[in-house]
């Protein structure tokens, strides 16, 4: 009997259990069975991956970058969601507030999500710096909800939006997933509008250490990519995890985050 690949995931939502039980059931019918271990935060998960306690980790982009940093790039990215390859950060403000670009944030108040959220904290600061806005140019408020989960819960971004609604900030930086969750400004036309969207970058990816043989991971990836949105057994899992198709990772999509981590002095470990 083939030993299951043990996959780590962070429990960012109650749906994580049905997602991974569904994944386990799916892979049980393939040549590459799996089991899963849930962690409360990404630091513990990456430690477990590097120590060999788990074979694969379902990592955020920051967890991937930190794993790569700790392994001198020896770890391997195996697969991502289709939605992970086109992730963006969206800067939003109250409708009609007159923001037109990042430059218009000069002298204004910007609220950020959790400090370990790539989309709502680390990359927004990077994009500001690219636009020529330094520490003294924008007043930043950080909302550190659910630190450790890299912004997965979305809670800090919702808190950031509340801060804008309550006039505690002029604008917020949030992930495209949260922007979509509130209807992209169409659902709440009098509430929010976006005024700048970042270039696309990569988000989550399955990560393996080099100690896990390609002979084990390649067939597993092939089975993963075979999950089908049109298959009624697969679809509920894909819907809950927020994708329509598993795809090969896009490594150059992590370049902006690698640069941001370096600029901001974010360490490889927690």
């Amino acid at each position: 009997m083939t030993a299951p690949l043990v996959i780590g995931s962070v429990a960012y939502s109650p749906n994580v259990v049905p997602i991974w039980e569904g994944m386990r059931d799916y892979f049980a019918e393939t040549s590459t069975p799996i089991d899963f271990v849930l962690f409360s935060h990404y630091g513990r998960q990456v430690d477990a991956l590097i120590s060999g306690s788990i074979d694969l980790a379902w990592n955020t982009n920051l967890a991937w970058v930190r794993t790569a940093g700790q392994t001198d790039g020896a770890c391997r990215a195996l697969a991502s969601r289709d939605t992970d390859l086109v992730f963006t950060t969206v800067f939003v403000a109250r409708s009609g507030s007159g923001f037109t670009s990042l430059e218009s944030l000069r002298g204004r108040r910007l609220v950020l999500g959790s400090r370990d959220s790539a989309q709502a904290a680390i990359l927004p600061v990077h994009f500001l710096q690219e636009a020529g806005l330094g520490e003294s140019d924008v007043t930043l408020t950080r909302i550190d909800s659910d630190v450790g989960k890299h912004g997965d819960t979305g809670r800090s971004e919702l808190d950031a939006l509340r801060a804008v609604l309550e006039d505690r900030a002029d604008a917020a930086a949030i992930g495209i997933n949260t922007w979509q969750a509130i209807g992209r400004g169409e659902l709440l036309p009098g509430a929010f509008e976006s005024f700048w969207t970042s270039p696309e970058y990569s988000h989550c990816t399955f990560t393996a250490m080099p100690s896990v043989a390609v002979e084990r991971t390649d067939p597993w990836v092939a089975n993963l990519l075979a999950m089908d949105w049109e298959n009624p057994q697969h679809r509920p899992i894909l819907e809950m995890e927020g994708l329509q198709a598993w795809v090969p990772p896009k490594l150059d999509g992590y370049a902006s985050l690698v640069a941001a981590v370096k600029e901001q002095g974010i360490t490889d470990r927690w």
Binding site: P18, E135, T141, R142, L158, L165, E166, R168, A181
Partner: protein
């Protein structure tokens, strides 16, 4: 860069309405699919907030389960389709029953609507029936089913039936005992290609049938089946049996075979504890798949309870599509409530 803490400003009504959606998104994220969360609307902006919550649910694939005052309960994900498991013929509105009169020449001891010679006539009338037939056809109803009391007591039963068959295939329930003279002529004026006669016979021999429906009624019913066949009508037989006799039906089926009733036209059902029946299975709104039923008094959930307030739906027969939609809405609500209870008990 600095981290600062700014005290909250008093919220505007508009901001509070938007905040409800943020609360809802956060709450939904904290429960697994299939569970519910509650959000509270502000008193001053209740309607605006409810509009936003409704729009968010519609666009995000979540579902409002209930609205009570300022509290909105939202399901993470969507409820399973309560109608999906039904046979197409069981969908509410796939067929519509109409009680034509209620009075009857028999006084069966199990009649679910208390029909008898003493029952007051409550006639639907040709004008209403024409409108029902027209609106039913427009609403996608596939069949009309007419029942009495005994419909052949009506002097215009042929006109009534023809007003239905002009629009839809129609089944006419009768005891089959009155096919003579003017009433036979009325039968002959019906469209054989569009009418099925459903005649009540409860047993293969007279004793049981007559004990419930009156002495001599079995022989007249069997004669009525023969006449209907001779006149070129398709005949179904419907039998009503005590639940404890439902396990040995083959001799009865064999008998019905001998009088020319096709097996698919042999309808045998358990006695319902309704009307004048002093025993039988209990049939409630919760336990019955509805069949839209119209009487002179309004719309009922099911023909078995068309004389009982607990299954009264609305006095408004028209627009018929609205009545069908209301019964469908109530059925879905009952199913979801039942599902919620089923989910709840294993957890208790």
């Amino acid at each position: 860069m600095v981290s600062i803490s700014v005290p909250a400003q008093p919220r505007s009504a508009e901001s509070m309405a938007f905040s409800v959606v943020l609360d809802l998104i956060e709450g939904i994220g904290r429960v697994p699919t299939g569970r519910t969360v509650e959000v509270r609307l502000g008193e001053g902006d209740r309607d605006a907030a409810l509009d936003i919550v409704s729009a968010w649910c519609a666009s995000s694939g979540n579902e409002i389960v209930s609205i009570e005052g300022l509290t909105v309960t939202v399901l993470h994900g969507r409820s399973p389709d309560s109608l999906a498991g039904l046979d197409p013929g069981q969908l509410p509105g796939s067929r519509v029953w109409v009680y034509t009169n209620f009075d009857c020449n028999l006084a069966c001891d199990y009649c679910c609507v208390r029909s008898s010679p003493k029952a007051e006539r409550r006639a639907i009338g040709v004008d209403r029936l024409k409108q029902i037939a027209g609106e039913a056809a427009a609403a996608g109803v596939g069949e009309l089913i007419l029942t009495g009391g005994e419909p052949f007591l009506l002097n215009d039963i042929d006109v009534l039936v023809n007003s239905c068959t002009e629009k839809l295939p129609t089944t006419l329930l009768t005891n089959g005992m009155l096919f003579r003279g003017a009433r036979l002529e009325r039968l002959r004026r019906m469209d054989r290609s569009r009418v099925i006669l459903q005649i009540s016979v409860d047993s293969a021999t007279p004793a049981v049938h007559d004990s419930h429906r009156g002495s001599g009624s079995w022989a007249k019913a069997i004669a009525g089946i023969r006449i209907a066949h001779e006149e070129g009508f398709r005949v179904k037989v419907a039998a009503t049996l005590p639940a404890d006799q439902m396990h040995e039906l083959e001799p009865f089926h064999d008998f019905l075979d001998t009088i020319g009733i096709a097996r698919e036209d042999q309808v045998i059902r358990a006695l319902a504890h309704r009307g004048v029946a002093d025993s039988g299975i209990e049939l409630t709104v919760d336990s019955l798949i509805p069949e839209v039923t119209i009487t002179a008094d309004g719309v009922y959930w099911h023909p078995v309870a068309a004389d009982h307030d607990d299954q009264f739906v609305t006095r408004d027969i028209f627009p018929l599509a609205d009545a069908i939609a209301e019964i469908t809405r109530r059925f879905v609500a009952h199913r979801r409530a039942a599902d919620s209870i089923a989910e709840w008990f294993p957890c208790a």
